[in-house]
Symmetry: C2
Subunit: 177 residues, 2 copies
């Protein structure tokens, strides 16, 4: 099977992207330290056409050379906004009618294997700092906690990889749902 050329991929322009339908999902980054992770999240968010990204606390905001290195320009297509804290972002999103889900390893979490995205809702998915995860005060404000089941020796997944998994799962369920 022949590989597609750039033209074969039929990608949308930044202008077309702005007006096309979006996945009803907002990504919230709580104190993500690495600009490379932030850029990587932008690139995945662009591919799956999420509504927007909320960058909170110490999370860097575009434009920066490091974000650009891994976003590869997706920081120009995906809508983002900055909140001084994830607590504030979560309160705002709940007020706007989003179902706010922390993606975190907590007691009595819902496994991602069992989580069902509903086509009648809109979601905010909260991801945390590379070392500390989503802070407890933010977890406490979230309506659901989703955990990615893990079977290895390390205690967690990389945050950009966790975002990729959650966005894929949301897309898979919602586009087919």
């Amino acid at each position: 099977m022949k590989k597609k050329s750039m033209l074969d991929l039929h990608r949308v322009s930044v202008e077309e992207y702005a007006s096309q339908d979006k996945l009803p999902v907002v990504v919230v980054l709580d104190d993500v330290r690495s600009e490379m992770n932030v850029g990587s999240v932008f690139r995945t968010a662009d591919a799956f056409a999420v509504e927007r990204i909320c960058l909170c606390g110490i999370t860097a905001v575009p434009p920066t050379p490091e974000i650009h290195k891994t976003a590869l320009g997706a920081e120009d297509s995906v809508v983002w906004e900055y909140f001084s804290s994830a607590d504030e972002a979560v309160e705002t999103l709940i007020g706007q009618g989003y179902e706010v889900c922390a993606v975190e390893q907590v007691h009595d979490s819902m496994s991602l294997e069992k989580f069902m995205f509903s086509t009648t809702k809109k979601y905010a998915l909260v991801f945390g700092n590379e070392v500390k995860g989503v802070r407890q005060t933010v977890v406490d404000k979230c309506q659901v906690c989703i955990e990615i089941p893990q079977y290895g020796t390390k205690h967690s997944l990389n945050v950009a990889n966790s975002v990729a998994i959650l966005l894929w799962e949301a897309l898979r369920q919602l586009r087919n749902g």
Copy 2:
């Protein structure tokens, strides 16, 4: 809901990991240039307990400081082997009875939304170079081409994020299958 402590996570040791059941999936990296991507793949492969990783061509092999930075030690738990080319790896894996799937954007690919992992098979998933993807000669040897559907402005996803999505999808289907 209270966040789990390191102890609450009940992670396995490297010795326990070696003897536990694995996901019947081998990850093949064809000329992956970035050691940070290689390390990130090790970390995800550990979390989802894949059988092994085949590092091919210019793909760096552990131990290196850069791989360690993103693998965080997962390079010590996940079994890996080196092949001088992905062509050789794919031929070997087909000979060993694996269903070998290129993860690539090709004409007449199977969308990941439709791909069904079978519990009676074992899989090798081939991922390519950051710029060039899986080379055409390797695609030609693969039995299936799986494409992650994308709706954004950029032409592809980061390779480590693509690995995370595919491994999650394999785990989701095979652990419940």
